[in-house]
């Protein structure tokens, strides 16, 4: 039985660690309210004189960067990319696990083999192929390539393989068609692993940096991560206050989503398939 004393100790340690963890975010927020001179000349945490100028200049008429467009792009790319990955992976994994696909064994070993080959190998060739067909700086290269990953197929396949077929067979006897089986039997079954895949894919696309920085060039197509890199090395690099304001604007939407959605993440990132 846990004792009160232990609870208090653990809570105190956690609070300490949490304070250290939050420090960079707190520092970012405070710095974003500093004036140019102060943000460069001193390093106290709390601003001596507060200003919202860094924020007004981001959203003002003469703003040098369309941060909201970048956030929108990030939203589009992560959502569409994740949806695509889940769609193709569920169908493929179901086919491999249950249906009568010619050459199934070969496909299965390709899926497993491809797991070990890292992304760097495909990065530059894929870039030049997209250039060849004239699709750089569009949504296509930002969304489509993620669908080639075999991790999702592998996870769902493993899950289904260990799962009894009774329900499906019952449904087939009842005369259900393929669509019905997928929709009402398979989907509810694989829900946890699909949720895991959704989360892993969403985070991977959201945090990708090198690939989107290669394939985008115009301001309208940049994702938040790429655009922010441009600001950090560009117009904001002399001005930590403004840099942090841009960073806050680019980060806060994701922070809010994370805070509200993290309980789903926790529930969904089950170990099924990973074990």
């Amino acid at each position: 039985m846990k004792s009160k004393k232990k609870d208090i100790t653990v809570t105190l340690i956690s609070t300490g660690v949490a304070l250290i963890f939050l420090l960079p975010i707190v520092w970012m927020i405070f710095t974003s309210f500093k004036e140019l001179g102060e943000s460069l000349s001193t390093s106290s945490l709390i601003p001596k004189s507060w200003t919202i100028e860094n924020y007004t200049s981001i959203f003002g008429a003469d703003a040098d960067a369309p941060i909201l467009t970048w956030l929108m792009n990030t939203a589009i790319v992560t959502t569409a990319g994740t949806a695509l990955v889940v769609f193709v992976d569920v169908l493929a994994a179901y086919t491999l696990a249950r249906l009568n696909l010619p050459g199934k064994k070969i496909f299965l070993s390709i899926v497993v083999g491809a797991l070990t080959i890292p992304g760097i190998v495909t990065l530059f060739p894929a870039f030049f192929l997209f250039r060849e067909v004239g699709y750089l700086d569009t949504y296509a290269p930002l969304i489509l390539p993620y669908s080639a990953g075999t991790m999702g197929v592998f996870l769902i396949y493993n899950f289904l393989r260990d799962f009894p077929r009774d329900l499906e067979e019952a449904a087939i006897i009842d005369g259900a068609n393929l669509w019905h089986i997928l929709r009402h039997v398979i989907m509810p079954t694989i829900k946890p692993v699909v949720a895991t895949l959704t989360v892993i894919t969403f985070l991977a696309i959201y945090n990708d940096f090198l690939w989107p920085s290669l394939v985008t060039s115009s301001d309208d197509m940049k994702t938040a991560t790429v655009g922010l890199a441009n600001l950090i090395q560009g117009s904001n690099f002399v001005n930590p206050g403004k840099m942090m304001a841009s960073t806050v604007v680019a980060t806060v939407p994701a922070l809010i989503i994370f805070i509200f959605a993290n309980k789903y993440f926790v529930r969904s990132v089950t170990n099924t398939g990973i074990k």
Binding site: L36, T42, D64, G134, T138, Y139, S213, S217, V238
Partner: protein
Amino acid sequence: MKKVLLSTLLVGSLFLAACGNGSGGGNANETEDGKVQITFLNGFTGGDGGYMKKITDGFNESQDEYLVEEVQDKDHYTKFKTGDYDLVVIHANNLETYKQDGMIQDINPLMEQAGLSIGDFHEAAENLVTFDDGTYGIPLDIHPLTAFYNKQLSPEAPENYEDLVALTEELQSQDPNLYAAGVPNAGLVEYYIMTAAIQNNIELLDGNHLNFAQEELADALMVYHDMVWKDNISPAGLGLDGEFQAFMKQVEEGNTGVQTAVALTGPWYYQAVSETYGEDLGITSMPQIGDEPGVYGGSHTIALPSSVTDEKEMEAISAFVEYMYQPENLANWAESGQAPLHTATLDLIAEDPEKYPLANENAKQFDTVTGAPQVYQFGEQMRYMIENVFSMLVTEENLTKEDLMAELQIATDNAQQIADTAPEQ
């Protein structure tokens, strides 16, 4: 069952259609309302980007035949190498490279079309943009190493090494965290290395590559080592862009920071320093720390990609260039702090030193400024010097000239290997 198939196909094709709005290359692009559209690529993501934007916006509003779409990107060279653009800003020290790689074309016909000739520019410009077989860039500006100083700490502008030594002694007696001028280990070091070579009259160009393995260069560079470790002019351990950051610091209780009175830095920091120091800001030329006066300057030029051949497009580009080089328009660029090479614009801004203090100050350096030698892949040939040698120079207290010479030899070997990859041998 068919529904599944159909909807799968439908979703898939919709998806591809939504993603694909790739631009067709080749001929002149036209906008929906019939304007000829050209793309203008540059790397002005710094404080100066807004001023260039004023010029392009102004052009787009001034007429309704053409539309300039400006693309600003930190890695604009990478974008240029892999994309399709109609007009590109290229640093003068890269013209040789892009010319040899066949990426840019002789721009003389375009200049003529736009009513410009090399005679319209300050004489420092000609060397930067002309080659045996033509002119490869329209000169825009020169940005030499610039000295900003804080009048509170240094009432007089420092003119030479002795002034810096005297200044630092004076400041150190007030507060040990005050110094004369910072030497960083990364950032603007290309300017520091080249200025040392120029002020000591050292010829780096040796055939097709840069030769750093020269006793004279080692001596010249040791000055930066001495500034940090012998004469205490600069604090030790300044990192990337440290010369600027130290200039902006405030020495105070409980703060570990060091502050300098002078920043030997790039003119693009002008907005930040003038906003902070206002009346206390002094601007002057690079102090003489070698045998003779002189300074290294980078230079922006406007180049025409080889892919541009369409006549309509050329007309649009020349109209834009003509507009940009009207003194009242190019003055916008001078307002950002950049010193334009266009003579008529120089005359215009000279009338208003209050509005264009930095551009005017830097125009004074035009007579002593020297650009980079024209070699293939200048930046890559310099890389080892910039990333390794200079950093070693200012961070290793016990560095000897022999150590330095060994490093300069490695840098030269690298430069030679880079030069050997040039298409024109």
